[in-house]
């Protein structure tokens, strides 16, 4: 989505900068995280919340010189828990818009503005979708064995059918961020967030984003684990 930098948009965007909190869960990432921070700070985002999810080498030491908020889990809990902690921290510090962003450099900092724009238009949630993006290349095996089945798993558990079920790039309004409670500590939180959107009747929109593939990401056994976590939650809680 081309972001037109008209004068009003530009002013609006400057206003956002102070209210947008970018939450990045990090677990044993250093080089990629540094690059991500450089990209974000270049666009002048003022509130970047790194959640160190019990990394063996504390993130705070690696990125000591960056002007960011660091929240540290003393134990490794999982990405879901890290996002929850980061979101809660952001809300406590006056965030109007909370953006979930990845530490491994697969999301593009420049596209945050597209998601934020959607929230500014009055939506509660903006969800990134790689399949809506015209130029996106997705590895075939990943597409047909993981991402496409995931859409149906997601639909089964949440009741919403999205074009891209497991995209971690999203923006939440303050209202939505307060409503959406992530109980799943590990990776099943993607589906959980969608289920919460449906439950609380939040207004959402999918936004095309480009995912930069460095490696395979979530593999097949990881996918099975996610399904097991979802089944456990559905039937035992």
């Amino acid at each position: 989505m081309a972001y037109e930098l008209t004068k009003t948009n530009f002013i609006r965007r400057l206003l956002y900068m102070d209210q947008v909190f970018i939450v990045i869960p990090a677990y044993n990432e250093s080089d990629s995280l540094k690059q991500v921070l450089v990209d974000l700070l270049a666009i002048n985002y003022r509130h970047i919340v790194i959640v160190d999810d019990g990394s063996s080498c504390p993130v705070s030491e690696i990125i000591r010189d960056f002007p960011v908020h660091i929240v540290t889990h003393s134990l490794n809990l999982g990405q879901g828990a890290a996002l929850r902690t980061g979101t809660e921290y952001a809300l406590q510090n006056g965030a109007e818009i909370v953006v979930h962003f990845d530490a491994d450099g697969q999301h593009r900092a420049a596209e945050i503005a597209d998601l934020v724009q959607v929230i500014a238009e009055g939506y509660d949630v903006a969800l990134g979708s790689r399949f809506l993006h015209a130029r996106q290349h997705v590895p075939k095996t990943k597409k047909y064995f993981i991402l496409k089945p995931a859409i149906y798993v997601n639909w089964l558990f949440s009741g919403l059918k999205l074009s891209d079920a497991h995209n971690g790039f999203r923006a939440l309004s303050r209202h939505a961020a307060g409503k959406i409670i992530i109980e799943q500590n590990r990776m099943a939180h993607g589906t959980e967030i969608v289920a919460e959107i449906k439950k609380h009747n939040l207004k959402f929109k999918e936004v095309p984003v480009e995912i930069i593939y460095h490696e395979y990401g979530q593999n097949f056994s990881g996918g099975i684990k996610v399904v097991m976590d979802l089944i456990k939650q559905k039937f035992f809680n």
């Binding site: 959640v51 010189d65 960011v68 908020h69 003393s74 134990l75 902690t85 921290y89 109980e183």
Partner: protein
């Protein structure tokens, strides 16, 4: 009385001893003590009088005493397994809650990114 019965009875004595010691040291609540006590007592009675088990099996329509014992054992095991699973899950949640709370509290204490107040 055969060897098997003697072994089991010996085992039961040890179990009772440990159970009583635990309730005295307040490691086990009185309610839980009672449940375990009755359970092990029942096991003891049935081991000494196996015919009782057969009678019960007949009455319940299962046929063999051993079958009844196995069924009951499986049910009890599954139940305890289920309870344990829940306990663990609950504990997991509590730990998560604690870790997240500590993390946020600590972060709030030194919440000012260096851009706002350059050191």
């Amino acid at each position: 009385m055969n060897l098997f019965q003697l072994l089991i009875i010996g085992f039961l004595f040890i179990t009772f001893y440990r159970l009583i010691k635990k309730v005295r040291d307040r490691q086990v609540s009185q309610g839980l003590f009672l449940i375990w006590f009755v359970l092990w007592l029942a096991v003891g009675v049935l081991v000494i009088f196996p015919s009782l088990m057969s009678r019960m099996a007949e009455l319940s329509g299962i046929g063999r005493g051993v079958d009844l014992a196995i069924y009951i054992a499986i049910i009890i095991l599954l139940y305890t397994q289920f309870k344990l699973y829940h306990r663990l899950e609950e504990q997991d949640k509590r730990i998560s809650h604690l870790v997240r709370k500590i993390a946020i509290n600590n972060a709030q204490k030194n919440a000012n990114p260096s851009r706002d107040n350059p050191a």
